[in-house]
Amino acid sequence: MLEVKNLHKVYDGHGRRVTAVGDLTFSVPEGQFACVVGPSGCGKTTLLRVLAGLLPATSGEVRVQDAPVTAPPPGLAVVFQEYGRSLFPWLRVRENVELPLKAQGMARAERRKLAADALAAVALSDADSAYPWQLSGGMQQRVAIARAIAFQPKVLLMDEPFAAVDAQTRADLEDLVRSVWQRLGVTLLFVTHDIDEAVYLGQRVIVLSASPTTVAEDLTVDLPADRDQLTTRSDPRFTELRSQVYARIRKVKAPASEGAPA
């Protein structure tokens, strides 16, 4: 579904060359929930933007649904970290969710239904005629998620979506994302800096190294499919996995192993 081969991205500007991504290769099969973690500045966001077609790669190949990515691919939705800035403040919640569908030329009745269903899936049916800025941060992010759901994508990319949200709300949103994923069967790539979140949510955790970024480790999360904030997080296997990821990140942060894969 998602294929990244020897992705290399260099930023050229202000007199400096910054290698955001060194040499990245991995692929995500259809329907998988994969999390991407890494030290800060390791190009996680760059990777996501290239996958989303928002940024061209310097070299290497990126394919979504078997087609090379040159522009935002169809059937792919993105949930950004800055929910406040990704929702249109002059549109009501319902209209925000419907807008991409409107752009597709969908008929009003169908739009309404999809939007209503999506808002129900994120438990925001009551807020559909509010304006985004009237809602709390967590609720705004849920609107963004609802928008992605209504879009009926095959691939969902999420860029540290809960980084700007408080811890308790984050727990609710994490469970929401998992239930949405299970319901829709989308291929989900979830970028985060929170190791616990990555292990809790994903079927697989891809650990990136510091710049020049490569894949430092690729773990399968063999926790049960039914995850719960309390029980899963106190599961010894969870602790094992998370320590493994943490240790790996510690290693790739240290200068001695710069760029050295597992």
């Binding site: 522009a71 169809p74 792919l76 939705a77 993105v78 752009a103 800025w133």
Partner: protein
């Protein structure tokens, strides 16, 4: 009780000022500064319905026509220029140069080029008022939020929908600022062009009163001009509130920190 206090605060000072003027000027012998009562009296006598129809409405119509044309032109051009970085870079110095000219100088030029007439006056207002709108639109369109822009790209919101939402509505607070700056300019230009190059209209009439030494009538004209300024400003505020309700709501929410 609070409401009473609020009302008192709101009208207290104006009432005091007006009353002060009234009593201070009562029985005034000064030819040039008649009593307020005389002025009010003259107001009623002068600005009859016919007077309104003959002199005031044509002026207002020219003012509004010029103003709205300027806004339309300014927004359309501003959006075009703002969207293209190269046009911005090419045109920015030229526009900065042009906007530095004090708008009143347009009147002599207009008189030279087009003589005295309705069309001239509207043209003057358009050419004077387009600048704040144009420049503010360019600025507003340019400073698009990146995240919003990325959202539109990923969700493939393009074309007219994109123009309407991402470009224009996002820039609307800035555009409205431009329109707000242009309004007093429009009034100034209307009055000047009527005082310098007209044989009818509100500005012309008031100046004629001055020349004919009809002083109370002149004062009443000044008052009327002032009132028009106030009313137009109020109407603008109302329009702004409905257009930018979302913007004020959003900023109020952000301030809560």
């Amino acid at each position: 009780m609070r409401i009473l206090w609020r009302i008192l605060l709101a009208i207290g000072l104006p009432v005091v000022l007006v009353a002060g003027w009234w009593f201070d000027s009562a029985g005034s012998e000064d030819f040039y500064q008649p009593a307020l009562s005389t002025i009010v009296d003259a107001f009623g006598r002068t600005w009859t319905w016919e007077m309104f129809q003959e002199q005031v409405f044509p002026s207002l119509w020219r003012l509004l026509a010029g103003y709205f044309l300027a806004v339309l032109l300014g927004v359309a051009l501003g959006a075009l220029i703002g969207l293209s970085r190269s046009s911005r870079q090419v045109l920015e110095p030229v526009l900065e140069f042009l906007r530095a000219f004090p708008p009143p100088v347009l009147v002599p030029i207009a008189i030279l080029l087009a003589g005295i007439g309705d069309r001239t006056k509207i043209l003057v207002i358009v050419f004077g008022c387009v600048w704040p709108v144009l420049l503010n639109t360019i600025e507003g369109v340019r400073a698009r939020d990146e995240v919003l822009s990325d959202t539109c790209r990923t969700y493939r919101i393009t074309g007219l929908l994109r123009l309407r939402h991402l470009v224009l509505r996002a820039a609307s607070p800035q555009i409205v600022t431009g329109a707000r700056q242009a309004l007093p300019l429009a009034i100034i230009l209307m009055v000047i062009s009527e005082m310098m190059a007209a044989n009818e209209g509100l500005g012309f009439t008031v100046l004629q009163f001055q020349r004919g030494f009809q002083i109370p009538e002149m004062w009443s004209g000044v008052l009327l001009l002032g009132l028009i300024g106030i009313v137009l400003s109020l109407l603008f505020r109302l329009a702004e509130r409905s257009l930018l309700g979302w913007y004020h709501g959003q900023r109020a929410g952000q301030r809560e920190f």
